[in-house]
Amino acid sequence: MTIAAHFDIEYLQYLGPDGKLVADLPKGFDPKSLLPLFKQMLFVRVFDTKSIALQRTGKLGTYAACLGHEATHVGIGSSMRPEDVFAPSYREYGAQFMRGVQPREVLMYWGGDERGNDFQIPRNDYPWCVPISTQCLMAAGAALAFKLRKEPRIAVACCGDGGSSKTDFYAAVNSAGAYKLPLVLCVINNGWAISVPRSAQTGAETLAQKGIAGGLHCLQVDGNDLIAVLEAMRRAGERARNGEGGSVIEFMTYRLHDHTTADDARRYRGEDEVKAGWTREPMLRLRTFLTAKKLWDEAQEKAWLEECGKLVDVEINAYLESKVQPVEAMFDYLYADPPPDLLAQRAAAIALEKRNG
């Protein structure tokens, strides 16, 4: 028998759920570098918790929580350079905060105001993306632009396990391979696409191997192990910047909250599974690891959490105090060069507003 092609999917894990190392650290890796990232993960969790509370008290629209994904998100975001471009789905706040997106921008978006998408700092990053996985293909387009312009920038896109089924994901994989693009596709496998479990999404053994079909480098990692996340992103980023093409990284994690605040996961998954998920969650193991290394303790955590609370409250207040856009904002961003008919409608809307007080 002649083998036409074969593949292996490597799985990366350094830090087990109990906080103990299961493999040698990557060469040159300094555990101290985990500390600021751990603190950032705590900040994200505080933000996430308060955002859910905002929604539950009628102060925020539907919100997609990121509980349990902190290591994956923060790890992805911190591995990018400012000049790179990030294309989120709609959950990766941890990555976006590393890129300079402000919590108040997240709240504005879920609070029903387009200004949330007008990121003040990462001006070229893509906004939150509802049509599933289309962000992967747009990121491929961005990567293509970088390549054609010979810029040393990479594009990173995130989608979910459900997202890896989508046409646009396959199109991104194929384009990345066809053009050898500086693209990193992050498939964040949190086990659920709303109510559909990962097992129902595809017959493929791993989601990472979908990249094989496009000729990309593929890797599966324990997404709750920050060290593994960082190592995987380091490898993929290096390849992309060296002109070696794109990667698919499957981050194994677990969605500890509902799909969104409009969802009730108890309809389709049991409590035991969620409990088990909590035992593997990223914060627990990292806390254990850093505490054992004497880099962290309870008092520091208490103080830091309090400070996070304050920082997040500043953002929440900024959001709550923001004024609704004037009615003409509906018209002002359709065309650089608005046609007369549109301007007439704009004027009519303003006049109506005046009449109604």
Binding site: N117, S175, Y333, D341
Partner: protein, 336 residues
């Protein structure tokens, strides 16, 4: 091949498709951010030869053959455009562009809006459009109405080589997305002298091709040909028809149509697409809203039937014809 523009030489008489090529070449010479992408656009020069010679001149990094997937083309185009390039994508045929609708409607039309102007999408999607070339199924769609109701888009359709050249330049230079429908039936129908001078022609306005006093004929695309012929036939019977080429369907320059109808009092709209909810309905509604007291006759629409365009044996019976246009004009003129 020399990169010098042909502007120094005497301008040639060229077909519509050659005008497309000429415009692409001009803009690619003068704006490095312009790239062309699509299926078979490289070595093959595109199945209609729209991109003939461009790959040889500008190389594979400016003229990209894409994998066979319309979603890919649309997504990559939006991605590139939103990162500061000016991609001019080609859909190989109108009937294949439907998977692109997701990216056009969900992203291209919304990028500026969604991000409050932080990101934008200066892309052009060129689409060989419409029937009349005896092609197999799905190669003869007149599907402009899908896009004319989508805010944030421009929908443009030239009807002559000169307008194809000038309006394509304008479309590429436009900071917002343009769906550029090219009536394939008239790709090679005749030649016109078109100087390669880089002069864009305005979008967002109608082109009055012929002056008249008794009725206004409004049309676009390949049907401009039949409409002008109908105007000739009517002139022989003493009926003076004004002919307007809408050219940019969205945003619509209704003022030109209104001005004409205020003079003539009668309007006949001609389009290839099926009648119901075709773009003629929008023009008729605007006439009812704003030109009611100028009209002395009901608005007439001469259109394709509310059926799929048939295969070529019946194709010409489906399409508007000179006879159908003349008959509608006479019905209108019977009212005074």
């Amino acid at each position: 091949m020399a990169e010098k523009t042909a502007a120094n030489a005497a301008p040639a008489a060229i077909t519509l498709i050659e005008a497309i090529t000429q415009a692409l070449a001009y803009e690619m010479r003068n704006d490095k951010s312009v790239v062309v992408l699509g299926e078979d656009v490289g070595v093959n020069g595109g199945v209609f030869r729209a991109t003939a010679g461009l790959s040889a001149t500008f190389g594979p990094e400016r003229v990209l053959d894409t994998p066979l997937d319309e979603t890919t083309i649309a997504g990559l185009t939006v991605g590139m455009a939103s990162q500061g390039m000016k991609p001019v994508a080609e859909a190989q045929f109108d009937g294949f562009m439907y998977p692109m609708v997701d990216f056009i409607v969900c992203h291209a039309a919304r990028m500026r809006y969604r991000t409050r102007g932080r990101l934008s999408c200066p892309m052009v999607l060129r689409v060989p459009w419409g029937g009349g070339i005896r092609a197999p199924e799905h190669h003869s769609e007149a599907n402009e109405s899908i896009f004319t109701n989508v805010p944030g888009l421009r929908v443009v359709m030239p009807s002559s080589p000169a307008r194809a050249y000038g309006m394509l330049l304008a479309a590429i230079r436009e900071p917002d997305p343009v769906i550029f429908f090219e009536p394939k039936r008239i790709y090679r129908q005749y030649k016109e002298v078109v100087a390669d001078d880089g002069e864009a022609l305005p979008l967002d306005v109608c082109y009055v091709l012929r002056d008249g006093t008794d009725l206004t004929l409004v049309t676009w695309g390949a049907q401009v040909k039949e409409t002008l012929e109908a105007a000739d036939a009517l002139a022989k019977e003493g009926i003076s028809a004004e002919v307007i080429d809408v050219a940019t369907l969205k945003p619509l320059d209704f003022a030109t149509i209104a001005e004409s109808v205020s003079k003539t009092g009668r309007c006949v709209i001609v389009h290839e697409a099926a009648k119901t909810a075709g773009f003629g309905a929008e023009i008729a509604a605007r006439l009812a809203e704003e030109s009611m007291y100028d009209l002395v006759a009901p608005v007439e629409r001469v259109t394709g039937y509310d059926t799929h365009i048939p295969l070529f044996r019946l194709e010409m019976k489906f399409l508007p014809s000179v006879d159908k246009i003349v008959a509608a004009a006479k019905r209108a003129v019977a009212h005074s």
